[in-house]
C-alpha cells in the first residue's frame, strides 16, 4: 500500500452566485497518475486551481480540507503556500501558447523557479535550465535556452512548461488538460514524456482531461466528475469494461476510439442529450435532467457515493438494476 500524498475532503468551491465544485473528495497516492475526467464546466480546472491556491479572485474555497503531505493547504498563509508552489506542487496549463511570458527567454523562465526555491545563482540556474531542457527532450538545448517562446512550436512550449514544472522535483504535478491544444501526434509524445518523468522523478500526477483515450492509456485511477461532483471512481480497466454511472456510460458511448474493434461507421455514437447547464439549481441528482433512467426518487436528494470496493465508488443507487435492464443496452458499448 503506497502512502497517501494528497487528500481532498469535502471540497466546496464557491463563486458569489454559484458553487461549481461541491463536496468533492478524492486522494492521490505517491507516484500514481490520477485522472480527473469530465466535460467543460464540470469543475475540473477549478479543483486544480484550488489545489494550487490560485483560484480566481471571485472564487473561494467554502469548505473542506486539502491535506498535502500531512498539512492542510487551506490553513497555510500566503508565504508558506508560495514555498510549496513550484517546489512541492507544480502545475502545467492547457494553453502552452499563452502560458509562457512572451518577453522572457525560456531559460530565464525556467531559471526563475530554481532561483525562487533553491537560491541558485544566475549561472547555475542557466546550467540547470539546460539540463532540464535536455530532460524534456528538447534538441540542441544549449542553443534553445536563449530562445523566446514565439520561436518554439506548441509541443516544444509544452515541454518547456513541463521542464519548468519538474525543475524542483515536485512530489505532485497537476496537469490541467496538458495536450488539449496540441495535435494528436504531439499529444502522445507529451503524455509519454510526462509518464516517463513521473517514474524517473517519483512524483504523482493529477491528470485533468476530457479525453477518455488519454485516461485509458495513462491513468492509474480515474475520477469522473459531473457538475462539480464526483459521480464515479474506478480503475481504468473497470471503468471502460463496466461503467456504472449513467453519465459514465453516456461518455463512453459518445467516444469512438476505446475499443479497437469498434469503428464509428459500424455503430452509432450516441450523444448525451441536454447540457451541463441543466444541473444548476437541481435539488436531487445533478444528472437527472439528462439521464434516461431517471426516476422520481432521483429528484429528492443528491445520491450518495456507494462504495462497491474501496476503489470503486459510484453516485447512483440504481446501477445494479440498470445493468439488469436490457433496454439500457444502447448506453453500453
Amino acid at each position: 500500500m503506497t502512502s497517501l500524498l494528497l487528500q481532498v475532503e469535502n471540497l466546496t468551491i464557491g463563486f458569489p452566485r454559484a458553487e461549481p465544485v461541491r463536496n468533492l473528495s478524492f486522494e492521490v497516492r505517491a507516484g500514481e497518475t490520477l485522472a480527473i475526467v469530465g466535460e467543460s464546466g464540470s469543475g475540473k480546472s477549478l479543483t486544480a486551481l484550488a489545489l494550487m491556491q490560485l483560484l480566481p479572485r471571485a472564487a473561494a474555497v467554502i469548505s473542506g480540507r486539502i491535506i498535502f503531505d500531512d498539512r492542510d493547504l487551506l490553513g497555510l498563509d500566503a508565504r508558506e503556500m508560495r514555498h510549496l508552489r513550484g517546489r512541492d506542487i507544480a502545475m502545467i496549463f492547457q494553453e502552452p501558447m499563452t502560458s509562457l511570458n512572451p518577453v522572457m527567454s525560456i531559460g530565464r523562465q525556467i531559471g526563475e523557479v530554481l532561483k525562487a526555491h533553491e537560491k541558485l545563482s544566475g549561472r547555475a540556474a542557466r546550467e540547470r535550465a539546460i539540463e532540464l531542457l535536455k530532460l524534456v527532450r528538447i534538441p540542441a538545448a544549449e542553443k534553445r535556452v536563449d530562445d523566446y517562446p514565439h520561436q518554439l512550436s506548441g509541443g516544444m512550449r509544452q515541454r518547456v512548461m513541463i521542464a519548468m514544472a519538474v525543475a524542483c522535483r515536485p512530489k505532485l504535478l497537476i496537469a490541467d488538460e496538458p495536450t488539449t491544444a496540441l495535435d494528436v501526434t504531439i499529444q502522445a509524445q507529451v503524455l509519454d514524456l510526462l509518464d516517463t518523468l513521473r517514474r524517473e522523478l517519483q512524483m504523482a500526477v493529477v491528470l485533468i482531461t476530457h479525453d477518455l483515450g488519454v485516461v485509458a492509456q495513462w491513468a492509474d485511477r480515474v475520477v469522473v466528475m459531473y457538475a462539480g461532483r464526483k459521480v464515479e471512481q474506478a480503475l481504468p480497466g473497470e471503468l471502460f469494461n463496466d461503467p456504472l454511472h449513467p453519465y459514465t456510460r453516456g461518455l463512453l458511448s459518445a467516444s469512438p476510439r476505446l475499443k479497437h474493434d469498434f469503428h464509428y461507421l459500424e455503430g452509432p455514437l450516441t450523444e448525451i442529450s441536454g447540457s451541463i447547464v441543466s444541473a444548476a439549481g437541481e435539488v436531487g441528482c445533478p444528472f437527472r435532467p439528462r439521464c434516461c433512467q431517471a426516476r422520481a426518487s432521483c429528484g429528492h436528494q443528491v445520491p450518495p457515493l456507494i462504495a462497491q470496493t474501496p476503489d470503486r465508488l459510484v453516485a447512483c443507487p440504481f446501477t445494479s438494476s440498470l445493468k439488469a435492464v436490457p433496454d439500457a443496452a444502447h448506453l453500453s458499448l
Binding site: R85, F93, L100, V113, H150
Partner: protein, 328 residues
C-alpha cells in the same frame, strides 16, 4: 548576439527613412510659412516706426526676401546642404548659434519633465492597477482626470502662486540665480531649484496619461495565462508584478512616450513663456511674432530631427523589451 543584430537592423532602417522625411518636412514647412501674411522686413519696419518704402525694400533685398519663392527655397536648401541653417534678419546672427544657445535649456526641461512623467506615471498606474476598483484607485483616477483636463499654463500659474508667492520655497521664473558665482554641485542644485516648477507643470499632463495607460496595460496583462504560470512557480507578488506584468505593460507606454516627445516641444512653448525659461519654445514663439522664418524653419527642422531620434530610440527600447518585434 541576437540582441545586437536586432538593434543594428532597427538603426539602419531608421536612418534610411530619416533623410526623405527631413527633406519633406523642410519643403512643406517652407511653403506653409510663405502663406503667412507679412515677412521679417514688415515687422522690423513696423517696429522702427519711421520706415519708408525704400528702406523696407532695401531690407528685403539685403535678406533675399525679394527673390521668387522657389529661388528662396533653393537658396535655403543649398545652405542646408552645407550644414548651415541660414542667418536671422531679426537677431542679426546665424540661426545655428541662436538655436545652440537655447537648445540645452529646452532639452533638459523636456528630459526632466518626461522622466518625471514616466516614473510617476508608472508608479501611480501600478498602484491604481493593484487597487483596481477600490479607494486608492478611485482617488488617483480623479486626480489623473484633473491633471489631464487642466491646461498647463494654468497649472503653471497656480504653482507659482502656491510655491513662489505664498510659500516662497521656489523661484517663479528664470533658469538660475542671476549673478551667482556658484560652481559644481551647488550650481547644479541652483539650476534644479529653478527647474522644479516648469518641469512639474509640463509633466503633470503626461503623468495623468501614463498613469491611466499603465493601469489599463497592467490590468490587461494581469489576466494573461503566463501571469498565472508565474504565480504557480511560487514567485512573490512583487516578483510577478515587476518581472512579468510590468515588463509586458511597458511596451504601449514607451510607444506613447515616443509620440509625446514632439508634443512636449509644443507644450514647452507655453511653459517656457510662463516661467520665462530661456528655451527653444520661447524662441519659436518670438520667431513667429517677428516673422523670422529662417529661425522658425531651423527650429522646425531641429524638432523633426528630435522626433525622428526619439522614434528611433523607442524602436530600440521596443526591440529590447519585446523580442517578437525584431523578428518581424
Amino acid at each position: 548576439m541576437p540582441v545586437l543584430i536586432r538593434i543594428a537592423r532597427t538603426l539602419r532602417r531608421t536612418l534610411l527613412q530619416a533623410v526623405p522625411t527631413i527633406l519633406g518636412i523642410v519643403v512643406l514647412n517652407f511653403f506653409l510659412l510663405q502663406l503667412a501674411p507679412g515677412d521679417a522686413a514688415d515687422v522690423l519696419a513696423g517696429e522702427a516706426g519711421s520706415a519708408t518704402q525704400e528702406s523696407v525694400a532695401a531690407l528685403r533685398a539685403r535678406f533675399g526676401l525679394d527673390s521668387p519663392v522657389l529661388e528662396q527655397l533653393a537658396t535655403y536648401l543649398g545652405n542646408l546642404a552645407q550644414f548651415s541653417l541660414g542667418f536671422s534678419p531679426r537677431y542679426g546672427m546665424p540661426v545655428a548659434d541662436l538655436i545652440a544657445q537655447r537648445l540645452p535649456g529646452t532639452l533638459t526641461l523636456m528630459a526632466v519633465a518626461l522622466l518625471i512623467a514616466i516614473l510617476l506615471g508608472i508608479v501611480l498606474g501600478s498602484l491604481m492597477a493593484n487597487f483596481a476598483g477600490r479607494i486608492p484607485d478611485r482617488v488617483l483616477s480623479v486626480f489623473s482626470l484633473l491633471f489631464y483636463s487642466i491646461p498647463s499654463f494654468w497649472i503653471g500659474l497656480m504653482l507659482i502662486v502656491l510655491f513662489s508667492i505664498k510659500l516662497g520655497w521656489l523661484p517663479s521664473g528664470g533658469a538660475g540665480t542671476i549673478g551667482s558665482q556658484l560652481k559644481g554641485l551647488p550650481a547644479l542644485f541652483d539650476t534644479a531649484r529653478y527647474m522644479v516648477l516648469p518641469a512639474t507643470s509640463l509633466a503633470l499632463f503626461y503623468v495623468a496619461i501614463y498613469a491611466r495607460l499603465t493601469r489599463a496595460a497592467m490590468l490587461e496583462v494581469k489576466s494573461q495565462d503566463f501571469v498565472r504560470t508565474a504565480y504557480a512557480k511560487g514567485l512573490t507578488p512583487f516578483g510577478v508584478t515587476a518581472r512579468h506584468i510590468l515588463r509586458n505593460a511597458l511596451i504601449p507606454i514607451t510607444t506613447m512616450a515616443g509620440m509625446h516627445i514632439g508634443g512636449m516641444l509644443g507644450g514647452a512653448v507655453v511653459v517656457e513663456t510662463v516661467y520665462s525659461w530661456p528655451g527653444l519654445g520661447r524662441l519659436a514663439f518670438e520667431a513667429v511674432m517677428g516673422r523670422d522664418f529662417t529661425v522658425l524653419l531651423g527650429i522646425l527642422l531641429l524638432s523633426s530631427l528630435l522626433v525622428i531620434i526619439a522614434n528611433a530610440a523607442v524602436d530600440l527600447v521596443h526591440a529590447w523589451l519585446d523580442p517578437r518585434i525584431g523578428a518581424r
